[in-house]
Amino acid sequence: MSGPRWLVPLALLGALLVAAPLVGLMARASWGELWTLITAPESLEALALSLRTAVASTALVIVLGVPLGFALRAVHGRVRAALRAVLLAPLVLPPVVGGLALLYAFGRRGLIGAPLEDAGISVAYTTAAVVLAQTFVAMPFMVVSIESALAARGERREAIAATLGASRTRILARITLPALGPALATGAVLAFARALGEFGATLTFAGSLAGVTRTAPLEIYLARETDPDAAVALSLVLLVVAVAVVAIAYRPAAMRGVR
């Protein structure tokens, strides 16, 4: 299907709009110093923190997001529509709004943060706050991925297993989860990428301290003012990761082993 010919110039324009900024970023990079800039202590510290927090967030997203995907299938009608709208909101929420929302929930004076603070537990300015912010924005990818995978497959095998006397947990572990493997992987990869790129919520909510809360995007934000070359170098690292992640998550079905 190639469509009418007049689609071509519009498609080219669209491609230009998306590709030009990426090329622009590459054009500004000082390639000779790239390795030095990326391996500078501040850059490495920020990248390492980003990697650690994104892995932790992805683990949280799997543990909490998969059950949420199931929950979404378990309810019906308007309840499902409403629940889905709430759960997927972080996906389209402006990052700074997400940050404010987290602040008023888990901040030192927040709905949950204030009682926690009184109990001697402080989330603010810790690496845990970064993971919290990343999980908040990354969770929808897993929920939507699991929900649509569940919707796409029938429940015949589960029904058979149930008539054979298998427990619900056994059915989940032996039949449903293995079948959801590809969806789970896609959800996890996208969640990881989103966590790695999280900026607004972290900046508003977690703060920015080297090695504790200053992830790669925050280091880029800071370096932009003082060391643009370093900012561009770090940006390129995140750009490569982003492109790789999308290539993996949206690889052709044939390569995913879908039956």
Binding site: L103, G107, R108, R109, A124, Y125, L203, T204, A206, G207, S208, L209, A210, T213, R214, L218, Y221, L222, A223, E225, T226, D227, P228
Partner: protein
């Protein structure tokens, strides 16, 4: 005074300069790129300049000084640059006419949430691990000034976060997420939900605001006149009222 609306228009003007010139048929347009901390105070100053120069429209565009310097280096069409520090003005030294004139100064203060819940009294309190403090990162001008002041006072600060700009510090303090932050005196004056705790010896670290006419200006006389106006009587009054120091 249509300053705010015109600030947005200024961006459009960058794209279509000729169209804007046609709009201001009755006179000239003066584009001023000014540091974000000047946003409120520049409005009355621009208004008094417009009164003295009938037919002239002052369009102000506000951003962080570093961002504005970058815009000038990338060829943004503008007439006057007012920076929040001299180091940033130095970056565009090749693109200004005449010597930059320092028209205002600013000093640091401790900002605390209204009511000062953590009872912060001195700079030394910010070294107390029980007090959550937020400062500017040493890479940016307000952070450099903070570091100098702390060094002079012999205090080792223990910040919970080092932000990229004053606005982010203020946000953390105003929301109560931090017990104290270090910002400029004028930042507290223009913010709600925060109050100032003066720092003893703060006058030892002074931030100086230079302004200069840009070489790319189409109206060099007007641009120079505006730079002079910043040091004039009307401007001095407005600046002092906003908490700025006058050199």
């Amino acid at each position: 005074m249509r300053l705010r609306a015109l600030a947005a228009l200024g961006v459009a003007c960058a794209a279509a300069l000729s169209a804007c010139a046609a709009d201001a048929a009755e006179g000239d347009t003066l584009t001023v790129l000014a540091a974000a901390s000047l946003a409120e105070v520049l409005e009355p100053i621009a208004a008094s300049f417009e009164d003295e120069h009938p037919g002239v429209d002052v369009i102000a565009s506000y951003a962080g000084s570093s961002d504005l310097a970058a815009q000038i280096l990338e060829g943004a069409p503008a007439d006057v640059f007012a920076s929040a520090d001299e180091a940033t003005m130095d970056k565009v030294a090749d693109l200004v006419t005449g010597t930059p004139v320092v028209f205002a100064t600013n000093t640091l203060t401790i900002a605390v949430p209204s009511g000062n819940p953590a009872v912060v009294a001195t700079l030394a309190d910010l070294a107390d691990p029980g007090i959550v403090s937020v400062i500017c990162a040493p890479q940016v001008p307000c952070g450099t000034a903070t570091a100098s002041l702390a060094a002079l006072a012999g205090v080792t600060l223990t910040p919970a976060s080092e932000e990229a700009n004053v606005t982010d510090v203020l946000g953390k303090v105003a929301s109560g997420q931090a017990d104290a932050g270090i910002v400029y005196v004028t930042d507290v004056a223009r913010s709600e939900g925060v109050e100032a705790v003066p720092i003893e010896g703060a006058e030892a670290v002074v931030n100086r605001y230079p302004a200069a006419a840009l070489a790319s200006s189409d109206t060099p006389e007007l641009a120079t006149a505006f730079v002079d106006h910043l040091s004039g009587e009307a401007a001095r009054e407005a600046l002092a009222a906003a908490g700025f120091g006058i050199p």
